[in-house]
């Protein structure tokens, strides 16, 4: 049986074109892209997002330590710089920053569960969607509260 050596997609095409004589069901197409379980799937995207959010938060933290240090300079200096955080543009950017922190935090807990929880690896995909869902819920609660403070309250 030569079909065994054929790539899955070719096997499926062959089974279609000769359906009059062949009744063998087409082999299931491979669900593994590029020969890896990892690339292109939830596992990769959670890693990409974790890395990007980690770097973004890190650079914000550098700036944030410096702007807070201005309380040691004078009330005027601190208030002038912190005023920038209350402008509409920065207010929107803060939503992105909080979203990055929230995702990184929940996905960090997911990584810890994958590492230490006996069945964590088996549930990593489900846990990724739970991370996304929890992040959306937290941001749905935080966004109106923050926008009220920035634009009106």
């Amino acid at each position: 049986m030569p079909a065994k050596a054929m790539p899955a997609t070719e096997g499926a095409a062959a089974a279609d074109s000769s359906s009059a004589t062949m009744t063998v069901p087409a082999p299931r197409p491979s669900v593994i892209p590029g020969g890896t379980l990892y690339r292109g799937n939830e596992g990769m995207w959670s890693w990409v997002l974790h890395r990007i959010t980690g770097v973004a938060i890190y650079f914000f933290l550098l700036v944030h330590i410096l702007d807070t240090a201005l309380v040691r300079v004078s009330p005027e200096a601190y208030n002038a710089v912190i005023g920038a955080y209350k402008t509409p543009l920065m207010g929107i950017a803060e939503l992105g920053l909080v979203a990055a922190v929230v995702f990184h935090a929940f996905n960090g807990l997911r990584i810890i569960l994958v590492d230490f929880w006996g069945v964590g690896t088996r549930h990593q995909k489900a846990m990724f969607y739970i991370v996304i869902a929890l992040s959306v819920v937290v941001m749905a609660a935080f966004t109106p509260r923050h926008l009220i403070s920035v634009f009106g309250g």
């Binding site: 980690g54 890190y58 410096l66 009330p75 807990l109 509260r145 403070s149 920035v150």
Partner: protein
């Protein structure tokens, strides 16, 4: 047919058998990321809740607001642990990323040196700010300081 005793195989990707003795810093870094991660979830969510959700949100933050928090030992130590756990976690994560992407030894050494020294400077600066902060600086504009300062002239 040859058989292979799997227990004789090296672990994936290990370039050589591990024969070093003593403490494994890379392992402790790995553990630190997970332990500090769990602590940071509590500290960061608490930080964001008190500063951006309670009260008037971001628009309440000014010198007098910070003075009210940093004159309380509870918030001094809270911010102290937040600073040290977050900056060391973030810097160690950035170290991983530099090691992943920068293969030229000289550039890598320079970047890791810049990373370590900026972390050291900001840890010292931030700690000094937290513990040497004066909520009622002499001669400050009474309109900008906390109400508990009274007359400063």
């Amino acid at each position: 047919m040859t058989t292979t005793d799997v227990s004789q195989l090296d672990a994936p990707r290990s370039p050589h058998a591990r024969t070093r003795r003593g403490i494994n810093l890379e392992k402790w870094g790995w553990i630190y990321m997970r332990v500090s991660g769990v602590i940071l979830v509590v500290l960061i969510f608490g930080h964001l809740f008190v500063n951006l959700v309670l009260g008037d949100g971001v628009s309440q933050i000014d010198f007098a607001f910070v003075a009210g928090k940093l004159s309380d030992p509870f918030w001094q130590w809270y911010d102290f642990f937040l600073l040290w756990f977050a900056l060391i976690h973030g810097s160690n994560g950035m170290r991983t990323i530099i090691n992943d992407y920068v293969s030229a030894p000289r550039v890598r050494t320079i970047l890791l040196g810049a990373l370590a020294s900026s972390a050291a400077v900001l840890l010292i600066l931030g700690t000094l700010v937290i513990f040497t902060f004066d909520p009622c600086p002499a001669g400050a504009d009474p309109a900008l300081v906390a109400s508990f300062c009274g007359d400063l002239s």
